[in-house]
Symmetry: C2
Subunit: 123 residues, 2 copies
């Protein structure tokens, strides 16, 4: 028997989940954050690392990330001018979310591979 949690309390968890997904649930948001976190800090490097993202979309995502306080755009005026993106401390607060999602995605993929292998082994 599960201890039923009141509708109000449950709604509050769902609301918090919605708030999180509203900010970070977009198709590219977390992918860009992962790539910057992994040290891919320049625009072209980011685009190479994130398969399928167009320059226009990447540029939009980076602007959103700046506005939401996750990312800082750093311009080094030299020859040539170097633009780099770095994560702000607020992005670090996403560490648990990223770890949990990446771990679960890996486990899920391994599960699917196992199921596939079993279905091949038993025709």
């Amino acid at each position: 028997m599960i201890n039923k949690i009141s509708t109000e309390k449950c709604k509050s968890s769902i609301k918090a989940l919605e708030d999180a997904m509203y900010v970070i649930g977009g198709k590219w948001t977390l992918r860009v954050i992962i790539a910057i976190k992994d040290g891919h800090t320049r625009f072209n490097d980011l685009q190479r690392t994130i398969d399928g993202i167009s320059a226009k979309v990447l540029s939009g995502v980076l602007k959103d990330l700046e506005q939401n306080g996750f990312v800082k755009r750093k311009v080094d005026i030299g020859v040539p001018v170097v633009v780099e993106y770095e994560l702000l401390p607020y992005a670090e607060s996403l560490q648990d979310v990223l770890n949990a999602l990446v771990s679960w995605g890996e486990a899920h993929r391994n599960k699917l591979i196992k199921v596939q292998e079993m279905s091949i082994a038993q025709p």
Copy 2:
């Protein structure tokens, strides 16, 4: 200086994230899982708990969750017939993801409230 992680390794993290978001990134998926986890196991109770979900959409999400091995539909043939949904062990594997997202959503909301209060205090 960040230790740059190779493009290949970074792509693999992004792929795992994509796999996770493909399965659980739908608008309603995690909300329905949270509600069932909190003990709201009947259809009408689920619909009452998850604001804004229509009967048609809830029915579709529950079918997807069954197909993906997260949820089991349990029919008690009595008078009246009672249909209940229960989480399967595979849904438990999402615990870390749910905790991380709900905690982050709560922290994010609190941050926004604080920013709002500060902007009211300093006109």
